[in-house]
């Protein structure tokens, strides 16, 4: 067991000693700061708005002004739909007696959820190289002539990849909260926020909602990373692994949606990788799918990926 721990340490060491890894973190931190600057300077989100104890009246006033905007815009479908959704949300706050808060670090962190796709990219790069690079450097020979079975070496690399994913997602969350706190301040309480579920609006605690959404995204990243890891182990080519995984990352979900009218499409991996669809307005591609069904599909694919990588890696001739 302690041997596995040392191996994981070795693998993480090899990831974090590279300058390209540090570049990833610098890029990520840079984008977070830039997005904070853009959010505060643009008027897309009014970050200065706060609500007093008389928030119900304030929300009603806001709704009225939004309505006038729609009337003035005269049949502009974009303004109409975006304003209507804010109005609906505000009415939900009033009806359910949920007090809204102004924009703060929690909202900023939630808004930065989109940056997890950048982490997908980084993780695919790391996962696609973690085995293939050893072949490219020729160090695979040094690595495999140790008193450790090949299966354990592969396992240590996979665990290191998972840890890299978690560390990077945590980095995104922590830096987002920190930058958000500097720009917008921390919320005094864990506020309830209004969210849109497949069956309508609901309220949820902000921290819980944030963690859940980041959790779903992390799972998504791990699936892509596992795929890249498998290709990397089987074909010893990081370019192939990175290319294929990135292609699936961009095209997979779209392809699954395009095929949604066929019943078998629900068994496509990318129809199931994003569990957050069960918690937002979009919903699954087919009505009969449930979160447990998707979880099952994910587990089966992951097992297949891991077994394929393991079989090839432990049996192959290393020349």
């Amino acid at each position: 067991m302690s041997k596995l721990f040392s191996l994981i340490l070795n693998e993480l060491g090899k990831i974090f000693v590279l300058k390209s890894t540090w570049a990833m973190y610098i890029i990520l931190a840079g984008i977070i700061i830039v997005s904070a600057v853009i959010t505060s300077t643009s008027n897309f989100i009014d970050t200065d708005k706060t609500y007093s104890d008389d928030w119900k009246t304030e929300l009603q006033e806001e709704n009225e002004s939004l309505m006038t905007e729609i009337e003035e815009a005269e049949d502009d479908p974009f303004i109409e739909s975006s304003n209507m959704s804010i109005i609906e949300e505000n009415e939900y706050y009033i009806e359910n007696d949920v007090r809204p808060y102004g924009y703060h670090a929690g909202d900023f962190t939630m808004d930065n959820l989109f940056l997890t796709s950048l982490i997908s990219l980084f993780t695919i790069i790391v996962g696609g190289g973690i085995v293939a690079n050893e072949f490219r450097w020729g160090t695979i020979k040094q690595l495999l002539i140790r008193p450790i079975s090949r299966g354990v070496i592969l396992l240590s690399k996979y665990i290191a990849l998972l840890l890299f994913t978690l560390i990077t997602v945590l980095f995104l969350i922590v830096v987002s909260v920190a930058v958000g706190a500097v720009f917008y301040g921390l919320p005094a309480v864990n506020p309830e926020i209004v969210v849109t579920r497949p069956d309508g609006m609901a309220t949820s605690a902000l921290i819980w909602e944030t963690l859940m959404m980041y959790g779903f995204r992390t799972l998504n990243i791990i699936i892509l990373a596992t795929f890249a890891f498998m290709i990397s182990s089987i074909f010893r080519s990081s370019a192939l692994a990175i290319g294929l995984a990135m292609f699936l990352m961009f095209a997979g979900t779209t392809a699954a949606q395009a095929l949604a009218r066929y019943e078998w499409s629900k068994y496509i991996l990318f129809a199931n990788t994003d569990l957050s669809i069960y918690y937002n307005f979009s919903g699954p591609i087919r009505d009969e799918m449930t979160i447990w069904f998707s979880t099952g599909v994910i587990v089966v694919y992951m097992i297949v990926f891991i077994i394929a990588a393991w079989t090839v890696f432990t049996k192959r001739d290393v020349a």
Partner: protein
């Protein structure tokens, strides 16, 4: 030889349809330096890769200190330190980081041992430099250091003198001898440069086209009594006829000069016979038959690179 450090038993390797290694059988004794020589492409590296479990064995087995590399891999390999082909290390890490990395993969390698090994190969000054700044010779030393970390009882070095300057070669040679003699480590060194290996080996095995064609004990001096004699004589045809009638003469070539292989004691008799038959002798050169000649002879000169 039950106490052999390593036994190679009926070893075969097929890749696709080609039969790359054919029925190798030999033992490595404890504390000996075994030279594994053959032209490039003869199967040295393939054999070494099977010894350390990098390649699957088609048929046969390699048994290291009583443990089969096929069935008892972890135990067998923990007795082995090796450099396979080039001493490739992580280029973006320092020498020390590389050594620590590999030390973590074996049981009980202390930081004192790492320091000791660095001292042994003389890399103290460069150990905190990144490996991508290393010369081939320095990487070779780091490779040897890495192979020695866990104090193995069998050391396998594939072309260890590659890229080393003459001083470096001498140092490595001295060091390998010391390991064998003082620490009773069995060392297998492969090379296509016979002259470099000759001086450090106790025995050599010669491999060609995947077959072991000879094992020579270099401490048995008796056989080197054979000499090659080159004759500059006239007329050539008649001389050849005379030589053919004599015993113990093997004619190697008749191109320009006649070359024959014979033992030392025959040389005076050879000259006398030629003189008695009125052959004009312009020159007699005696070439000592070195291991290199024997090697070339055995495998044919044209194959050596």
């Amino acid at each position: 030889m039950s106490e052999a450090a390593m036994k190679i038993i009926d070893l075969h390797k097929n890749i696709g349809r080609s039969h790359i290694i054919k029925n190798l059988n030999f033992d490595i004794r404890p504390g000996e330096v075994f030279g594994f020589i053959g032209p490039n492409g003869a199967g040295k590296t393939t054999t070494i890769r099977m010894m350390v479990g990098l390649l699957n064995i088609t048929k046969g087995d390699v048994v290291i200190q009583g443990h089969s590399i096929k069935d008892d891999y972890t135990k067998a390999i923990s007795e082995v330190g090796a450099i396979v082909e080039n001493p490739e290390m992580y280029p973006f890490m320092t020498g020390l980081q590389n050594l620590k990395h590999f030390a973590r993969m074996s049981e009980g390698v202390t930081s004192e041992r790492i320091k000791e090994v660095i001292g042994l190969v003389g890399l103290e000054k460069a150990i905190k430099t990144k490996v991508n700044k290393y010369s081939l010779g320095m990487r070779q030393r780091l490779g040897i250091a890495q192979a020695l970390l866990h104090s193995p009882s069998v050391l396998i070095l594939d072309e260890p003198t590659n890229g080393l300057d003459p001083t470096g070669i001498r140092e490595i040679r001295r060091y390998i001898r010391r390991l064998a003699v003082e620490d009773n480590v069995s060392v297998i060194v492969s090379s296509h440069l016979l002259s470099e290996i000759e001086l450090m080996c106790d025995r050599i095995g010669i491999i060609q086209n995947g077959e072991l064609i000879a094992i020579k004990d270099l401490h048995e001096k008796a056989e080197t009594n054979e000499y090659i004699v080159s004759l500059d004589v006239y007329p050539v045809e008649e001389s050849i006829n005379i030589l053919r009638k004599m015993e113990g003469m093997e004619i190697l070539s008749t191109d320009k000069r006649i070359q024959i292989k014979t033992i030392k004691d025959n040389i005076p008799f050879l000259v006398t016979t030629l003189v008695q038959n009125d052959i004009e002798i312009y020159g007699v050169n005696v070439l000592q038959s070195t291991l290199e000649d024997q090697f070339i002879e055995m495998i044919g000169e044209n194959i050596i690179e």
